[in-house]
């Protein structure tokens, strides 16, 4: 029954062959990179059709990453809010402490399959950089991670982790010296190293096939949730909540459920100091359509088409764009895009730590902030799943500073 509905009018059929979700996505890259991007697409399509590739990926996800991650009934938070029954999808328990390892494992297996011998990546919070450095160490490939100078300063523990894992962290000093500039740095590296290098992109962004490929590798989150909630509650959830920077963890949670018409999906962007202050990272809530980093999507930009800096307490959400599939899901109104401020996220960070004994990363703290807003007004029969996509150890310095605590 569901299957028929899906075929007739599916939210899961994108992108088209050229990588478009509606008008979004595509391959807006320099000619030098175009043949490389096409090669990645071809290799990925072949890998997808090869059961051995999936088998190998499953093996590493189970025995190295530690999947499946648990689905946990957050009883104290539920009782405190007095409304919806809240479940945590615990992707912060993955090896390296975030969901990023899901797509890194997939991409490095593809890189190996393509015979590439050098790995590059960009990172903001450092979670994707750490995950990339981790899989590069596991498969003994040299790895260069581009990271904005500003982020290097505010994410020191992750910088050191990457170095311990054998990666070279290259500071990016151009532009706003954060995530978008790190991505420029990685793209410039790729243009100069076309023969041997595989670019492991850290979100559902970049040129086709990356948005679809990263989504596919992350969609294991939603598939596990489906099975786990059916076991726990004998039915599917009523709503899903995830934070959105580039949008990888949200696509991972949502994708399997997009064609379930009764499930509401909320994606929470970073509102920084507040959308009306202009100092935020909410590309879908406060941005406009544009072209950057290989894709047409929503970006924070001025009226001259110059990309603006994003502002968020969370380095992982501090990106002025968003993946193209999210732009499409916003336009089709399938997903509800909302935002939470730095302050709201900070409050949620502390509540979750005290109520559940789980220190979440600042990124999913934005999702939790939204949960705290809407859960009280929902009936107790309402099942809500929120993706705890990273753990907060990396953020304790930032949070301490905000709270005026000297470590």
């Amino acid at each position: 029954m569901q299957n028929n509905a899906r075929k007739q009018n599916s939210f899961r059929s994108g992108p088209d062959e050229a990588g478009h979700f509606g008008i979004y996505g595509g391959r807006f890259v320099a000619e030098t990179l175009m043949p490389l991007v096409l090669a990645v697409e071809k290799a990925y399509n072949e890998a997808k059709a090869d059961p051995k590739f999936q088998e190998e990926l499953d093996y590493y996800l189970k025995h190295y990453v530690g999947r499946p991650s648990p689905l946990f009934y957050a009883q104290r938070l539920t009782e405190k809010l007095g409304g919806a029954k809240i479940y945590f999808k615990r992707d912060e328990l993955n090896h390296t402490g975030a969901h990023k390892i899901n797509h890194c494992m997939g991409q490095i297996l593809l890189a190996k399959r393509m015979g590439k011998t050098r790995i590059i990546a960009e990172t903001g919070a450092g979670q994707h950089g750490v995950a990339t450095a981790t899989v590069a160490a596991l498969f003994n490939l040299p790895c260069v991670v581009y990271m904005g100078e500003v982020d290097i300063e505010r994410q020191k523990p992750n910088v050191f982790r990457m170095k311990l894992l054998g990666a070279e962290v290259r500071p990016v000093t151009s532009g706003s010296r954060s995530l978008k500039d790190a991505m420029n740095g990685a793209l410039r590296d790729w243009v100069g190293n076309v023969e041997d290098t595989f670019y492991i992109i850290g979100t559902v962004g970049g040129p086709h096939p990356y948005p679809a490929m990263v989504r596919d590798f992350q969609s294991i989150i939603g598939r596990e949730v489906r099975q786990q909630i059916l076991e726990a509650e004998k039915r599917l959830p009523d709503s899903l909540v995830a934070c959105v920077g580039g949008g990888s963890n949200a696509m991972g949670l949502f994708y399997d459920f997009l064609d379930e018409p009764n499930i509401t999906m909320h994606a929470v962007e970073a509102a920084g100091h507040g959308i009306d202050t202009g100092l935020h990272a909410a590309a879908l809530t406060g941005g406009t359509a544009g072209i950057l980093h290989g894709m047409r999507s929503y970006f924070l930009q001025d009226d001259d088409g110059q990309i603006q800096e994003a502002h968020s307490i969370s380095a992982g959400l501090d990106y002025p764009g968003v993946g193209p599939e999210h732009a499409w899901l916003k336009e089709t109104k399938r997903v509800n895009y909302v935002s939470a401020t730095d302050e709201e996220a900070l409050a949620a960070f502390q509540s979750c730590s005290k109520l559940e004994g789980i220190i979440p990363a600042l990124e999913p703290s934005h999702a939790l902030a939204f949960v705290m807003k809407i859960a009280p007004s929902l009936p107790k029969t309402h099942l809500m799943v929120v993706n705890i996509c990273g753990r907060g150890d990396k953020d304790i310095f930032t949070v301490a500073e905000k709270l005026g605590v000297k470590l």
Binding site: L38, R188, I291, H293, Q301, D304
Partner: protein
């Protein structure tokens, strides 16, 4: 806008400057010099003077960069030029003003705009190609729209009589070449290295071989660029190409004539144009 429309009829009458320039170079058995500078670098006043002086210094075609906040195909030199232009208050409308000013005094030297898609997309493609043609632009190069994505800007450009100049790189394979050549006009821009602007230099032999292969598929003139920094290199590349493009080296020359505050030192224009003259001599007397 007003003057853009007013000058449109004149500009239309002058279309084909690129073809005319390559024809006269061919008649003289010379390779041409394409000079790149970023619009508004280091400020609007100096840039206006540089533009005005380039033809006399020997530039055959002027390539004017439209500044962008995230120039992903450019190395540090042109990235810095973009920042200087922003500091000088350059927006896309000011780039077009610069061209208008240039074209009022120079009716013959072809001028092409080079940049990234987003500012053009936000300006509005139809309005952009109309206004560009109106102020006397002869062609456009958009770095991040490969043929697979450029229908939405290539066709409107051609409809306006603007040449749509495509980039070909060492990674462009035989399978994609027909798509790259389809609808290309004006000239082909052969990117001689795999890398950002100014990041490395190509050897003469691989470029010669690549151009020989290209010429089997196209009769368009071919300009070679990226990584040509000295008159000697210009001379070498001129031997196999219809034109050589020099960008980062000229931009570096501008940068080396700035004081600690980024202001132009006395003699910047003369020094930069002198350098262009040496490049032009090398390209012309290959």
């Amino acid at each position: 806008m007003k003057s853009a429309l007013a000058s449109q009829s004149n500009a239309t009458a002058d279309s084909g400057r690129i073809a005319a320039r390559f024809a006269s170079l061919k008649a003289r058995q010379q390779s041409g010099l394409v000079t790149f500078i970023t619009a508004g670098d280091p400020d609007l006043e100096i840039c206006t003077k540089l533009l005005a002086g380039l033809p006399k210094a020997g530039a055959d075609i002027i390539e004017l960069g439209m500044p962008f906040s995230d120039p992903m195909a450019d190395g540090p030199s042109i990235q810095s030029a973009n920042l200087r232009a922003f500091k000088a208050g350059v927006k896309l409308s000011k780039v077009l003003d610069l061209v208008r000013g240039f074209r009022e005094r120079d009716k013959d030297t072809p001028l092409v705009l080079m940049g990234y898609y987003n500012p053009v997309y936000v300006y509005g493609v139809e309005k952009f190609v109309r206004d560009a043609k109106g102020v006397g632009v002869d062609g456009i190069i958009i770095v991040d729209t490969p043929p697979e994505e450029d229908a939405e800007i290539c066709q409107p450009s051609l409809n306006q009589g603007l040449n749509f100049i495509r980039l070909i790189t060492p990674t462009t394979d035989a399978k994609r070449l027909p798509a790259v050549l389809h609808n290309a006009s004006g000239f082909l821009y052969y990117v001689s290295i795999t890398g950002t602007t100014g990041s490395k230099s190509a050897g003469a032999e691989p470029v010669r071989a690549a151009l020989a292969e290209l010429r089997r598929h196209t009769s368009l003139p071919i300009a070679v660029g990226f990584g040509i920094t000295t008159p000697d290199q210009a001379k070498t590349m001129a031997q196999t190409s219809d034109a050589v493009v020099v960008g980062s080296a000229i931009v570096n020359r501008i940068a080396s004539n700035l004081d600690g505050q980024g202001h132009a030192k006395v003699g910047l224009v003369e020094d930069v144009l002198g350098f262009v003259e040496s490049l032009a001599k090398a390209a012309h007397n290959r």
